[in-house]
Structures are given as structure tokens and as C-alpha cells.
């Protein structure tokens, strides 16, 4: 495994406490994600996939250990800095209902660029280009409720890469899609990874995703049980 490390978990643990009962979701995870990787985090329910993805995405804080993005420890950043970091360095694709319902597809893609302060003309052009890239040309004026689940996920992918992030974190992105639509979505993300070098990290149950991923990290009981790299065909 070579290349620049983008994300790194060092001895990361996470304990949730609900009504005095502690649940250990992660237990000393060490993991490095390198630039350009297409990695799937898999494992049974409760193994800690989503928890680890949330920690990598600066959406949550570890109970122990350290998460680093581009070599910078997230623990040293305050809420505003974490928000800026998510805006500029991370892209997110969630399981479903990813989009802002009152905005059109184009506006959803533009959303992060607005937050980044990209000039209007440039972001409009980039949004159009990205929607073409994900195969949604001509659907820019549609609102999420006017699109299918697959189309919505494609818009979410376009939005995730619109900010030109260091890594896209995708939490069960195919969970609500039929296998054909899921296949097309994975084709799209694979192409973005291969052609544009976008780094993808998935949490997934879906064998299709694991099959397409070039690296499979398997979690069990809150720790890394297996880490396998599949040679590029």
C-alpha cells in the first residue's frame, strides 16, 4: 500500500452511553486511507462501520485515540474549523434523503460551492458539468421529489465531488437502490475514481460494493478484522 495518507485512525475507540449503559462501538481501530483509494468498510450490523465513517467525516468525536485528515488531528479543531474542514476537504453521500428538498438538482450541486464562495458563473458551469458527468443532463431544474432514488443518489454524488474534496465518504449509498441502479451508481463512482482520482470510502453491507471496491476493510466487534486489497484488473 503506497501513496499519500489522506485519512488515518490511530487506536480509535468510541463508546456510546445510553441511560447509563455503555456500548463500545469501536475498540482501538488503526486504519489508513490513501489518496485515490476505492475502499469498502464492511461488517455485520453493529460492527462500527458507520461510527468509523462518522469519525472520519468529523461528524463525531472519538472516545479515545486520534483521527487525522491530511496529517492534521481533528481533535485540535473547534466546531467552526471542523465545519470548514468538512466543507473543503470532505464529500458525503448518505443512504437516502440526501438532498435538500426545496432546492433543484443544480442548486443542490451548487450548494457546497456557494458555501465555499465560488463565483456564481463558475459554480453554475461546474454544476452543469457535474450533472452531465453523472448522467443527469437536462434534469437540473428538477427537485428531489421529482426524481427517482437512483437519480437523487447521482445528484448526491455530483454534490459530494463539487467541492473537490480530498475524500468522499459514502454511508450505504446503494442501500435503497435496486441492483441495476446500484450497479450504475457504482460504475459512476468507479469512473470518477479512475478518471479523476477521487478517493472513495464506503461503509456498506452490499456485496456489489464490496465486489467493486479495490480494498475491503472488514470490521467486527469494533475492530479491524480483515484488510484486503484487490489488485486492479
Amino acid at each position: 500500500m503506497t501513496g499519500t495518507v489522506v485519512l488515518e485512525a490511530r487506536g480509535v475507540s468510541k463508546v456510546y452511553e445510553t441511560r447509563g449503559v455503555e456500548t463500545r462501538a469501536l475498540n482501538g481501530v488503526d486504519l489508513r486511507i490513501r489518496e485515490g483509494e476505492f475502499t469498502a468498510l464492511s461488517g455485520p450490523s453493529g460492527s462500527g462501520k458507520t461510527t468509523l465513517l462518522n469519525l472520519f467525516g468529523a461528524l463525531d468525536e472519538p472516545s479515545g485515540g486520534e483521527v487525522r485528515l491530511d496529517g492534521e488531528s481533528l481533535a485540535e479543531l473547534d466546531a467552526a474549523a471542523l465545519s470548514r474542514l468538512r466543507l473543503h476537504k470532505l464529500g458525503f453521500v448518505f443512504q437516502a434523503y440526501n438532498l435538500i428538498p426545496v432546492l433543484t438538482a443544480t442548486e443542490n450541486v451548487e450548494f457546497v460551492m456557494v458555501l465555499q464562495g465560488v463565483p456564481a458563473a463558475e459554480r453554475r458551469a461546474r454544476a452543469g458539468e457535474l450533472l452531465r458527468e453523472v448522467g443527469l443532463e437536462g434534469l437540473g431544474d428538477k427537485r428531489p421529489l421529482e426524481m427517482s432514488g437512483g437519480q437523487q443518489q447521482r445528484v448526491a454524488v455530483a454534490r459530494a465531488i463539487a467541492s473537490r474534496p480530498r475524500v468522499v465518504l459514502a454511508d450505504e449509498p446503494t442501500a435503497n437502490l435496486d441492483s441495476e441502479t446500484a450497479g450504475r451508481l457504482l460504475d459512476l463512482m468507479g469512473r470518477l475514481n479512475a478518471e479523476h482520482g477521487v478517493t472513495f470510502l464506503f461503509s456498506t453491507h452490499d456485496p456489489l460494493v464490496m465486489q467493486r471496491a479495490r480494498r475491503n476493510v472488514r470490521l467486527r466487534d469494533g475492530h479491524v478484522a480483515a484488510d484486503e486489497e484487490r489488485p486492479v484488473a
Partner: protein
């Protein structure tokens, strides 16, 4: 982006937002209409007082405030005061008067009266008695004619052309009297004026009271009411200690007190409307935060900072408030336009007349009737949005995105 999101979010649940907007607009319209009618009534009281008696300011001899007696008078026809008023650019008109007390008798009855002796031509430019004549004519015809208020004439059972006897105590303390004829009858919105006032010519009043060429007061009106204070100060400085210059507010502090009470009450009315409005808006926004928890989580995840989130919720509250305000203003203006030449309260005419108010109340809106609701509404919207916004920013993105 924040405004676009706020506007579209506000109308996502159009029915719910519509209910709050309707509540705000009806509340605002009701408050505004109440203000306009109340102020219209007070405005009429002030106008009646100014136009039927007070003028904008009055000049008396020094000591009149403490001892408003016939003996405290401006000598020599108030020559010094008149000379000053004639060159004062801020004065639109002025007139001299003699003012005293007396008893007027007819063959059937008698009544105590305020006797006001005026210069008819000059007085006509100060007060609107000339426009209030309902029978006979103003003091521009024969000598030894008096004007009586309609109610006074009714009590005395006299009409135009009838003879009355006016008895007064003159300057030397002697009782004296004069037989006069009723030249005209007037009726104003002021019941007090109509019940107990008798007008006659200045020269006849001076003779009756034994004043020689002295007068009791000089009454003046300014070109602009808002400049009366400055005008009073200037005249007081130039006339020196020999004269007392008083504005209408100083002459009738009760009117000023009523305006103050009205202003205080208006704040209470606004407070009631806006507190109700605040709960409505807070409710809508709280529902919004509950319903959109996942969406807020996703927005936060992709870099929508807390500041922007708070700004969006505040903007959403302001959208609801602004639409409610605009509709409320439109509704109020529509109602006021519909009232045309005023609200007919003739059933209460007698009671209203005691306060110098006519039977028809014309609503009066002041600029502050628009600026105050806008200002208070903005503050209310911000306060109403504060709690939901606080809840929204406390949502942890990792938990919020898991909500369905």
C-alpha cells in the same frame, strides 16, 4: 442562498405557515385599526381644542398662570405683543381677546358663561367658530350681537334675534350688564364650548369689563404645529418678563397626558399582538426543526456552519413575519379606506362631545404606526426563532443524519 432556502422552507408546509401568517396579519390589522381610530379620536380632540379656543399658543400678562383673573391683562391693546407677532415669520395668524365670566339671562332662564370678546376678522383666521354657525351669522353684521353655543341657546330657549342680558363683574369689581341680541348660534364638536360660551366683539367686551384698551390675551397659530415649541421660546425671549407665552400643550396639559396614555396603551396592544405572534412563529420553527432534523444534519455535514443555520431559521421567521406584516398593513389600509369619511359614532355623540370629539371618527395613521410594528416584529421574530435555532445548532450531525 440563505434567503432562498428560508423563503422556500417557509412555504413547504403552506397551510401551517398560512395559518401563522393569517394570525399575524389579522393581529396587525386589528392593532393598526385600533390605533388609527384611537389616535383619530385624540387627534380630533386636539384639533377641536386648538381650532375652537386654544390656538397654538397664547400670550398673557405676567402672572396670569398663577392668577387667571381679569385684572391680569395686557395693556395698551397688547401693542408690544402685536408688534412682535406681526414681524414673526413663524406665525400664520393672531388675534386679541378679552376673556371673563358672566351670567346670561333670557326671559325664561339664565346660565353662567365664559365670555370671550374677539376681533371677528382675525378670530376667523384662528378658530373655526365662523364655520360652526348653524343659525344666524357670525359677528360681522350689526353691533351688540352675540354668538351662543347651540346647547346654551337651547337652555336659554332663545334663537337668533332674541334679546339676552349679559351680567358681569367689571375690572373695578362693580356688577354691570348689557342687553344684547343673539346674532348667531354655533355648534362645535366640543360640548363644553357649546354649553357655556358666549362670543361678542372685542370693543364691546372691553367696554363691558371696563378694561379700556387692555386685552386678556393674544392667541396665535403657527404655520407648522411641529414648530410651536421653537416659536414659543423665541417669543418668550423677545417679550421678556412682562408676558407669559404658553403653547397649547402647556395650556391644556390634560390633552398631552391623554396622548401619553394613548402612546403607552399602544405599546400594550402591540405587545399583546406580538407575544401571540411570537408563539405562533416559534411553534412553526420548532416543528420545522423536528421535521427536518435529518436534513439539518446533512446540511451541517456538508459544511453548512452553525451561523448559517441560525441565519436561515431567523430568515424563515422574518419571511413569515414580513408576509404577515405586509398583509396586515394592506388589510388595515383597506379597512381604513373602506371607512371613507370616518366611523359613525353618532349614538355616542353626546358623550364624545364632552371630550371635544365629534360623532364621526376619522382614523389617523402616523408614520410610527408602521415603523413601530416593523421594528417590534423584527425583534419578535428574532426572539421567536432563538429557541428553535438553539435546538437546531445543538443537533449533532452524526445523530441527525440517522433520523428518518
Amino acid at each position: 442562498m440563505v434567503l432562498r432556502l428560508a423563503w422556500r422552507n417557509a412555504w413547504r408546509n403552506a397551510r401551517r405557515t398560512g395559518v401563522v401568517v393569517a394570525a399575524v396579519s389579522i393581529g396587525i390589522a386589528g392593532a393598526l385599526l385600533t390605533m388609527a381610530l384611537n389616535y383619530g379620536m385624540i387627534f380630533q380632540m386636539v384639533e377641536t381644542a386648538i381650532e375652537s379656543d386654544l390656538g397654538h399658543l397664547q400670550i398673557h400678562a405676567a402672572g396670569f398662570d398663577a392668577n387667571p383673573e381679569l385684572s391680569v391683562r395686557l395693556p395698551d391693546g397688547a401693542r408690544a405683543e402685536v408688534a412682535r407677532l406681526e414681524v414673526e415669520g413663524g406665525v400664520r395668524a393672531f388675534a386679541r381677546r378679552v376673556r371673563g365670566e358672566g351670567l346670561v339671562s333670557s326671559p325664561r332662564a339664565s346660565a353662567g358663561v365664559r365670555v370671550v370678546a374677539v376681533e371677528p376678522e382675525r378670530e376667523a383666521r384662528i378658530t373655526r367658530i365662523v364655520d360652526s354657525i348653524t343659525a344666524g351669522s357670525y359677528l360681522d353684521g350689526d353691533a351688540r350681537r352675540v354668538l351662543l353655543g347651540a346647547e346654551l341657546a337651547r337652555r336659554l330657549e332663545v334663537g337668533v334675534g332674541d334679546k339676552v342680558v349679559l351680567s358681569v363683574q367689571d375690572l373695578s369689581g362693580e356688577l354691570t350688564g348689557e342687553a344684547l341680541r343673539v346674532g348667531g348660534v354655533f355648534e362645535t364638536p366640543s360640548a363644553a364650548l357649546d354649553e357655556s360660551t358666549l362670543f361678542l366683539r372685542l370693543s364691546e367686551g372691553q367696554a363691558l369689563f371696563g378694561l379700556g384698551d387692555a386685552v386678556s390675551e393674544v392667541v396665535a397659530v403657527a404655520h407648522r404645529r411641529s414648530r410651536v415649541g421653537e416659536l414659543r421660546d423665541r417669543l418668550a425671549a423677545e417679550l421678556g418678563d412682562a408676558a407669559e407665552v404658553r403653547s397649547w400643550e402647556e395650556l391644556q396639559p390634560a390633552l398631552v397626558y391623554m396622548i401619553d396614555v394613548f402612546d403607552q396603551t399602544s405599546w400594550l396592544i402591540y405587545a399583546a399582538v406580538f407575544v401571540a405572534m411570537a408563539f405562533g412563529i416559534a411553534n412553526v420553527l420548532l416543528m420545522t426543526v423536528y421535521e427536518r432534523t435529518r436534513e439539518i444534519g446533512i446540511m451541517r455535514a456538508i459544511g453548512f456552519g452553525r451561523g448559517r443555520l441560525v441565519a436561515t431559521l431567523l430568515a424563515e421567521a422574518l419571511v413569515v413575519t414580513s408576509v404577515g406584516l405586509a398583509l396586515g398593513f394592506a388589510l388595515a389600509l383597506g379597512c381604513i379606506a373602506g371607512l371613507g369619511d370616518g366611523l359613525d359614532l353618532s349614538y355616542f355623540a353626546r358623550g364624545l362631545g364632552k371630550f371635544g370629539v365629534g360623532s364621526r371618527i376619522v382614523p389617523v395613521l402616523r408614520p410610527s404606526d408602521f415603523t413601530i410594528p416593523v421594528g417590534v416584529a423584527v425583534v419578535t421574530a428574532v426572539l421567536a426563532a432563538a429557541w428553535p435555532a438553539w435546538r437546531a445548532v445543538r443537533l449533532r450531525p452524526a445523530e441527525a443524519v440517522r433520523q428518518t
